[in-house]
Symmetry: C2
Subunit: 336 residues, 2 copies
């Protein structure tokens, strides 16, 4: 019967099983109406993942991980986009009361009291993949951006780069706030001062290119080859005045946008300027040169969030958990 239910609910099953069930269903003329059924059993076998932008490859990594966990548990995952505005996030969470899914994982770009209130009042379990205050009393899985920033700065220092610029996304977002603080702390701990800081208008490739223009037009970065030559004797690094020798970007899309602006000025990555992204998305491996990137554990965060959601569906009385996933650095060819 479990198999029959899986087939009728459009969930993964073997080809043979699907055929047998479908033959039986046709003979009996039976089609379940889940809207009616879910009124009784309260289950839709569908879970929702809400992300700010399906086009950001960091969410693709997270989606794949969430899907793996929930489909193994017999659920279908559907993904929806909230966009960057908190009002749309709140509308989505309130809309969950309609009962089209048994639970929600939301990765909000912006958080306010309304959002927290809507999550607490939501009829179905909600897990936040992001940072909300402990007082909210909800299950959360979040990254450790400050630690990630420290890994990036320490890697640059260890490879002789000290003239570091930082390109952040909007600082009024959850990741923007965390990464700004993380960068400031990491630079302080390393005894460095930023060569420049730019705030991009969004966490997108286009915003990265714009930020690259702003960053590079304001700095004496020399022309192709000069950086590499000047660095021939590594100790000379500090004597290069305003020259930039590394950029840390707040995500991979921003980093790749900046790499295009460096190339447009005939600056070679990493010889002239090293570049580090964050998220370690599929794009980091696909871009050229492949991008060194801080892995903030998006796959593990997805897995853990899915597990918390399943556990919460199973037992809504358990105490809220707050999980922090630790970062690692994926070193590729965009740093020396």
């Amino acid at each position: 019967m479990a198999s029959v239910s899986r087939v009728l609910n459009g969930l993964p099953a073997t080809g043979e099983m699907v055929e047998r069930v479908q033959r039986a269903v046709e003979e009996l003329g039976y089609v379940p109406d889940a809207r009616a059924r879910s009124l009784k059993v309260g289950r839709t076998f569908q879970l929702t993942l809400a992300v700010a932008d399906v086009g950001n490859p960091v969410y693709v990594t997270m989606m794949r991980a969430v899907e793996e966990v929930v489909s193994a548990a017999g659920y279908r995952l559907v993904v929806t986009t909230t966009g960057p505005d908190v009002v749309d996030e709140v509308a989505l969470v309130r809309g969950m009361a309609r009962g089209y899914a048994d639970g929600l994982v939301i990765s909000p770009l912006r958080v306010d009291d309304d959002l927290i209130k809507s999550i607490r009042e939501c009829d179905v379990p909600v897990v936040v993949a992001g940072n909300v205050p402990a007082s909210a009393g909800v299950d959360t899985v979040r990254a450790n951006s400050p630690k990630g920033m420290l890994l990036a700065v320490e890697h640059l220092l260890a490879t002789g780069r000290k003239r570091i610029a930082f390109v952040n996304g909007p600082v009024d977002t959850v990741p923007g706030t965390a990464r700004a603080k993380g960068f400031a702390d990491a630079m302080k701990a390393s005894g460095l001062r930023a060569v420049a800081e730019v705030e991009a208008v969004d966490f997108t490739f286009a915003a990265g290119r714009e930020a690259g223009v702003e960053l590079l037009s304001g700095l004496d970065i020399g022309v192709r080859g000069s950086g590499a030559e000047a660095r021939g004797g590594r100790p000379g690094a500090e004597a290069r005045g305003g020259r930039l020798d590394a950029v840390i970007a707040a995500n991979d899309l921003l980093a790749v946008g900046i790499m295009h602006e460096l190339a447009a000025r005939e600056l070679v990555v990493p010889d002239d300027v090293a570049v580090i992204g964050m998220d370690d998305s599929e794009l980091a491996e696909q871009c050229f040169p492949p991008l060194t990137s801080v892995n903030l554990g998006s796959a593990e965060r997805g897995r853990r969030a899915a597990e918390l959601l399943l556990a919460r569906i199973d037992d809504d009385t358990r105490a809220p958990r707050r999980i922090v996933v630790q970062p690692t650095l994926s070193v590729r060819k965009s740093t020396p």
Copy 2:
């Protein structure tokens, strides 16, 4: 009342409207249960887009376009992944009978009689973004791959490249079949014979790298610079024996995978080997050098599919439409 309904259904509305409605709802203690309501009115205000792989950037372009059209009409779009197997596509379509969405746009990688049967019998309107026979009697929007292939081959010929290899995805898929035939026809029309043809195991970046290894290990492609030198006098092109001077890939992910294998062998794009992708996805712009790519109109196909779905929801008696979107070529720096 339309606004109230939009807010309660979690659909886009102005911030002020959301606040007013939410205050009223709190005062009245009213929460609509859409499972109960949809039994009466038969509407969920939710539409589903089913794609083979959310990680393929071509679907991101399509998703954005579908979402724009359906959200303007007051629907929320949810996206779900079928994977590459037809049995999972069929299970999804049959699962739509559960009534969690008012309609479905499906972009199937593989099509068989079972899938067509499930679409015809589906309780909610289904539009296929892909190629199914006219006899199926369903609304379809499809690309013109053969015309796209012709644009790619003609562009290479016009820029002096005649020693062309083709890397396809699996030929037992809808796009794989269309692109294989399109490539053969375009080469024949141009009086050319392929230097090599490789079938990748999937339409992914990883499969592109594997196909690149297979392609390049089997060919005399010389070392960095030699190709460009030999081409100094363009007429010499045909005298280069087995040497490859261009690759057409069946999508952008495959093309970028191949570019990495070219780089690993110190072959410069486009000086030594020109590369053309298909789909003109966001990745084509992001990769380096930016990728010349056949735009198969994924955004327009998404828009048209969404419009067909809305029209079909409005009037289920209208005759099925079959729309073909024509391709264009986006020329970037991966071709001379």
